[in-house]
């Protein structure tokens, strides 16, 4: 198997790469992990990962600027329905649009909007932005889970660092949340696509288990 981590000039790519290699090795998953921005590599991959740090618009523009990458992504994820994982801004890019200081369209794969978090809106809790650190994962809707969470117990923490969050139009597409003054979307999913606001590559055992499940996932 081949897994591609898409390089669009942003992000802690090495971190993601190392974590995928470790998760594959520890779980005896035979997958070659590749960092690339070549459309041919996207076409040849079995699993597609879009990492991301930074601003929504910069990331979208970075993807758009790479010749053939958008088309290759659409073909692989929307037409061929290959398993796709977006991490942090890579997850947010699946939204219809992002509302930052400069608005930007997104991939529009999962309907919804990316907006600034407002942890002190209801009452001033003195909560800092970015939302940075380990926060508790919770199921969004009781009893509803996702195959990719098999074997991962609830009540564990994942590592977050972000100032914006993805509000899905359809609440069923928000799988996990976390609490930071307000409810924050922690994981989204639809068909062959999953996305995490948290960083599995930085979430120690929970994260490596999650990545292994993604590599074994057959949507």
């Amino acid at each position: 198997m081949k897994t591609i981590i898409i390089d669009y000039g942003s992000g802690n790519l090495r971190s993601a790469h190392r974590a995928f290699e470790r998760a594959a090795k520890d779980n005896k998953i035979n997958s070659q992990i590749l960092i690339s921005d070549k459309p041919a590599d996207i076409a040849a991959a079995d699993h597609i990962v879009l990492p991301g740090v930074g601003a929504f618009k910069d990331c979208y523009d970075g993807l758009s600027a790479r010749k053939g990458v958008m088309d290759a992504l659409h073909e692989a994820v929307q037409v061929q329905k290959k398993p796709f994982l977006g991490i942090c801004v890579g997850m947010q890019l699946m939204a219809t649009e992002g509302i930052e200081y400069k608005g930007s369209q997104g991939l529009d794969w999962i309907k919804g909007q990316v907006r600034a978090i407002t942890p002190n809106a209801e009452q001033d809790l003195g909560l800092k932005v970015p939302h940075m650190g380990w926060n508790l994962l919770a199921e969004n809707i009781r009893g509803r889970s996702h195959k990719i969470l098999d074997g991962i117990e609830m009540g564990l923490h994942a590592y977050f660092v972000h100032s914006y969050q993805f509000h899905t139009d359809d609440e069923n597409e928000t799988i996990l949340t976390t609490q930071y003054g307000e409810k924050i979307t922690a994981m989204v999913a639809k068909d062959n696509m999953v996305g995490t606001q948290f960083h599995p590559e930085k979430s120690q055992k929970l994260g490596l288990d999650f990545i292994a499940n993604f590599l074994n996932w057959k949507p």
């Binding site: 090495r14 650190g133 590592y159 930071y180």
Partner: protein, 273 residues
């Protein structure tokens, strides 16, 4: 615990962080008293592995002599250390330009600390934040008290590992770099570093309350109550310590459980109760 902290904890599941810090010189972890008189504390790669397994919330790698000796950070050593980290890794030391940040991220850092260069040229903070996102730019502030006894408390910035005085007010500088796009502040008290007498709590609180970004308290931890105070009295989001962990005075697990017993929300995943 204050009512404010109780209200915060009811609506917030974010945990306080414990960050062991590797002060690295010539490829070895060292820890000095007030940044001089260094004592060897081992191999950074081994330390990273141990702290990852111990459930540390993050790891900090500071190349403490980079600015002094005018050379770049040891990228190879960073890369080997990063191999062992499945938690966030902050690397600092000798970062002067946007390219230095990129190189560290490619070596495996998740966040990059900027210290001396941010004081010399604060715009660098904005340039790096714009390129890589606020969340990966940590401004490291080394501050020392300059007010005399009886005067209103005042602290100033020192650079080059605490060797050079700048005359810049520490609280004003913190506000400025937060505005420029820093995602976090790593605040070290030069008066306390290596003394094991506890964080400089008035300094930590003055800066934590002045900015809307997270502050990591650093410098002076000698026991577990000091870690507790950093959060409850200093209002820090995270506490950093070196010697008490490097020399085995306490384990990360002991520290987390002790803090939790004092009412601070901690991540205790993976530990048996």
């Amino acid at each position: 615990m204050s009512q404010f902290m109780q209200a915060t904890q009811q609506n917030n599941n974010l945990k306080a962080r414990i960050i062991p810090c590797l002060d690295v010189r010539d490829g070895r972890v060292v820890k000095g008293v007030n940044f001089v008189g260094l004592k060897d504390a081992g191999d950074p790669v081994e330390c990273a592995k141990i702290y990852d397994a111990a459930g540390a919330d993050e790891l900090c790698f500071l190349d403490i002599t980079a600015s002094v000796e005018g050379r770049g950070t040891l990228l190879n050593m960073v890369s080997q250390t990063a191999e062992q980290c499945f938690m966030p890794l902050t690397v600092g030391g000798g970062v002067r330009a946007v390219e230095d940040v990129r190189a560290l991220l490619l070596a495996g850092a998740d966040k990059v600390g900027i210290n001396t260069s941010a004081v010399k040229r604060p715009e660098l903070v904005g340039e790096c934040a714009e390129k890589f996102g606020n969340q990966c730019i940590v401004v490291a502030i080394d501050a020392k008290r300059v007010s005399k006894d009886g005067e209103v408390l005042r602290w100033e910035i020192f650079t080059h590992g605490g060797r050079t005085e700048t005359g810049i007010d520490a609280v004003e500088f913190a506000i400025k770099v937060a505005d420029l796009g820093a995602g976090e502040i790593l605040l070290t008290s030069m008066d306390r570093d290596g003394t094991k007498s506890g964080f400089n709590l008035p300094l930590t609180r003055a800066i934590a309350d002045a900015v809307s970004i997270p502050v990591i308290a650093s410098g002076g931890v000698g026991n577990l109550d000091h870690l507790v105070e950093g959060i409850t009295e200093g209002h820090a989001s995270a506490v950093l310590a070196a010697s008490i962990f490097h020399f085995g005075d306490y384990t990360v697990e002991q520290a987390k459980k002790y803090m939790a017993s004092k009412g601070i929300s901690m991540r205790l995943d993976g530990y048996e109760n």
